[in-house]
């Protein structure tokens, strides 16, 4: 019985934390529970959310992608140059950003899959490389976009702001890919056991290569959508955001140990982080304490992830004699 309860708690940890956080803020500041406040939270979390959905693909295969923060910067920057110099317009810019992101992911994948270097090392190197490339292209100056980008960014579709539209579309697409395609299910198989997956006829390298392209592609689009809100791109854009993105995915139940989690979960994780950030503004918590509170929430999520994996390992341990139940 206690066992079952522990399982339920671990499985629904994100929902429980979310409910707890919302109740806590509500008790502190009742006007926290308002429609426009939540609409705002969704809009503000779309940036981290889109990228968190992308990185989930990588985390599910037991990988890691530290370069997303730099891709958020370099992808839109390349798009900006193309828009300015080639006059391809906002739609063209969006496509360029996505393609640039996918290309950066392909570079990561090349080193990870082809040369078999640890993803942590490869993406740490490209974190510096991508940002360095952008700094070199701009000579470290701010890049100003055409007014048309801002018009696009601040527009809405049927009353729904553009960033939210993108967020929703990416979550739905990712969810379908992960749960309803061969590629998606093979991602879970690789995350559970790459060797067994290979033996079962899964092309493990191919699966791994694609997840890094997806992660970078999502990061570049996320960056582009946020840039469309501000109209300019400075050198520090996206710096350190890889940790927000990873934290959001893990908070949403995507395991750093691979094989567990969903796109929906990652999106909820991003919402949760933004809820905490916004909620802290509503309450009278000391401004300088806020990062510590956020750290506490993230730590709780990672702890729960570890507990879950330890439990899972225990159930998979080979037994010599039948367990009498």
């Amino acid at each position: 019985m206690g066992d079952l309860l522990a399982r339920l708690l671990l499985k629904n940890a994100t929902a429980l934390i979310f409910a707890g956080v919302v109740l806590l803020f509500y008790a502190q500041a009742p006007h926290f529970l308002s429609v426009e406040n939540f609409a705002n939270i969704v809009k503000q979390s779309s940036f981290i959310g889109i990228s968190a959905v992308g990185i989930s693909f990588v985390l599910l295969t037991r990988g890691i992608d530290l370069s997303v923060g730099s891709v958020m910067y370099l992808g839109p920057l390349i798009a900006g140059f193309a828009m300015r110099d080639l006059g391809i317009g906002v739609a063209g810019g969006l496509v360029t950003a996505a393609i640039a992101g996918i290309a950066m992911g392909a570079l990561n994948a090349l080193f990870i899959v082809r040369f078999n270097i640890a993803p942590f090392i490869v993406t740490l190197a490209t974190l510096f490389f991508f940002r360095g490339a952008g700094t070199w292209m701009t000579s470290s100056r701010q890049f100003d976009f055409d007014r048309s980008l801002l018009d696009f960014g601040l527009s809405s579709v049927a009353g729904v702001p553009v960033p939210v539209v993108f967020f929703v579309v990416f979550v739905v697409l990712a969810h379908i890919v992960l749960s309803r395609t061969t590629f998606g299910r093979q991602i879970y198989a690789v995350g559970a056991d790459p060797e067994v997956a290979r033996k079962a006829g899964v092309r493990v390298e191919f699966v791994k290569a694609r997840v890094y392209m997806i992660s970078s592609g999502c990061a570049a689009v996320a960056g582009f959508v946020l840039i469309a809100q501000i109209g300019r791109l400075d050198v520090a854009f996206g710096e350190g955001r890889e940790f927000d993105v990873i934290a959001a995915a893990v908070l949403g139940g995507v395991s750093l140990f691979g094989g567990i989690g969903s796109a929906l979960g990652a999106a909820v994780g991003a919402l949760l982080i933004q809820t905490v950030k916004t909620g802290l503004v509503f309450t009278t918590v000391n401004l300088y304490l806020q990062p510590i509170v956020l750290a506490g929430v993230i730590f709780a999520a990672v702890l729960i992830d570890s507990l879950r994996v330890i439990r899972l390992r225990a159930t998979r341990k080979r037994s010599i004699r039948p367990l009498t139940r």
């Binding site: 061969t182 879970y188 997956a197 006829g201 094989g259 159930t315 080979r318 010599i320 004699r321 039948p322």
Partner: protein
């Protein structure tokens, strides 16, 4: 009866040591072939060649009369071979249905046709009489259910030959009965089965044909009716013992040094009790999966146990490996490469690893390198290590036997009271084996207690004062004094009356 698969003078050697040597054998179509033999007899290697995991180094296989040489597991599977390993190849985070289709899903409008895979899975579950939803996650299933899912996978791929490797080890008696019903049904459906097991009663009941391997060669192959269980055991053993072992130089003393009482851990070991006296070498024999290495890990504090007590010189042991080392326990692991040595580090660093704290000098516990050098050199001498410069040469450059001497030497630096040797001669050539037996004798002669765990009966018979036999996590019996009888020990391990 025609042969589905024929081994034609098939051989495989690893680094010059032959594992399978000129086996010629027919696997009769629609039959159940029982494959038996001691650990290391070549069963796994033979089956790995069928499954495309290892490539033969000589001879050939014929599948329905056609040459058959799978390059990998996928090709063997495409040809109609399904291999059900002891560790199941399932994905814990996917559903039953998804596990069946993971290498290629049927699609509808570009997406996985979930209805179709569910229907197919349900069909197979019904054929196996398994009451499990196609949408159930593997992690929620019991060991027996998982195994049936693995069989469903074989049926789904329409395999003609299904190989079972020790399928009953983690099953409850009820699950075992069900597995046998399923195997009977598979046979009726025209499948051919190879069944590997240490449970000889099961082999006798289940199989139509039996083949016995010993030291990589085929000893006997005949219809099952021709075999009685004593005859199976007789065929598996029958190696001659000769002067392979040193004479023992010490007699066991009166006082008990190491005692284990009623040690239990659910699913692993059950009510294990024994005592070892000073100067005594106690042998522990068990087949693969009998729990001998798991017992060693529990004794050393690497894994936990729920009941029972362990004591050295009457003082109870508690805590983890660190406390037990301090109390005088030493453990030579069965996996020398992964657990016993730092392969890339110099020999001297390996030797001083356990006792390095002893060499700390104030201030700041700086290592007294001169003392370390003197002591490691002395120990290397003591174990008669054949090496060049022990401060430069990495452990991996040594032969298996000398590597094992380094492992033993590292513990000798601590002057332990109790030595647990788990398969100390695995991967060691004959000459070096002798030297390890000499070391075991010297450990005992110095007044220590030695637990010698091995799956080679001969060496236990040659080295030990007493032998205990383990099976399914329990001590099933023992033999108190030489001369030991090989068939009696093996019968006990197989839980058969000889």
């Amino acid at each position: 009866m025609t042969a589905l698969l024929r081994f034609d003078d098939l051989s495989k050697s690893f680094f010059g040591v032959s594992a399978v040597d000129g086996v010629t054998l027919d696997v009769p179509e629609y039959g159940v072939l029982g494959l038996i033999g001691e650990n290391g007899a070549g069963k796994s290697t033979l089956m790995n060649m069928v499954g495309g995991v290892v490539e033969p180094s000589g001879g050939r296989m014929l599948w329905r009369g056609e040459p058959y040489a799978p390059r990998d597991a996928a090709e063997a599977s495409a040809r109609g071979v399904a291999f059900i390993h002891q560790e199941l190849n399932l994905f814990f985070n996917l559903t039953v249905a998804e596990n069946l289709f993971v290498d290629g899903f049927p699609k509808r409008f570009g997406l996985i046709d979930r209805g179709a895979i569910r229907r197919r899975a349900a069909e197979l579950m019904e054929a196996l009489d398994l009451d499990v939803s196609p949408d159930a996650l593997i992690e929620d299933l019991s060991a027996g259910e998982r195994q049936l899912v693995e069989i469903a996978k074989a049926l789904h791929r329409d395999a003609d030959l299904i190989i079972f490797d020790e399928p009953t080890t983690s099953l409850t008696p009820r699950e075992t009965v069900r597995l046998f019903e399923v195997i009977g049904r598979l046979k009726a459906q025209g499948k051919t089965i190879i069944y590997i097991s240490h449970v000889l009663g099961d082999v006798a009941a289940l199989c139509t044909h039996i083949a016995v391997l010993r030291d990589g060669t085929l000893v006997e192959a005949a219809p099952a009716e021709a075999f009685t269980i004593p005859r199976m055991i007789h065929a598996m053993i029958g190696r001659e013992l000769s002067g392979l072992f040193p004479a023992r130089t010490a007699r066991p003393a009166e006082e008990t040094v190491f005692s284990v009482a009623a040690l239990s851990q659910p699913g692993v070991i059950e009510d294990v009790s024994f005592e070892i006296k000073g100067g005594e070498i106690l042998g522990l024999f068990g087949l693969m999966g009998s729990g001998r290495s798991e017992l060693a890990r529990i004794l050393f504090g690497l894994d936990s146990h729920q009941g029972g007590a362990i004591a050295i010189d009457g003082r109870p042991l508690s805590g983890g490996a660190r406390e037990r080392i301090a109390a005088g326990l030493a453990f030579v692991t069965e996996d020398r490469r992964a657990e016993g040595l730092m392969m890339d580090a110099p020999i001297a660093d390996n030797l001083s690893l356990v006792s390095i704290a002893r060499f700390g000098r104030t201030p700041f516990a700086m290592i007294d390198t001169e003392a370390v050098e003197a002591d490691t050199a002395a120990i290397a001498d003591q174990v008669r290590l054949k090496a060049g410069n022990i401060r430069r040469q990495p452990a991996k450059s040594l032969s298996g036997g000398n590597q094992q001497k380094v492992v033993i030497g590292k513990w000798l630096m601590q002057n332990p009271r109790v030595f647990i040797l788990d398969e100390p001669t695995r991967g060691v050539d004959v000459g070096a084996k002798y030297e390890i037996y000499v070391l075991a004798d010297r450990l005992a002669a110095a007044g220590g207690a030695v637990l010698f765990i091995s799956s080679e009966i001969e060496e236990l018979m040659g080295v030990c004062d007493r032998i205990l036999v383990m099976s399914q996590g329990e001590i099933v019996g023992g033999f108190d004094a030489p001369p030991f009888e090989q068939s009696a020990i093996l019968s006990m391990a197989f839980r058969q009356a000889a």
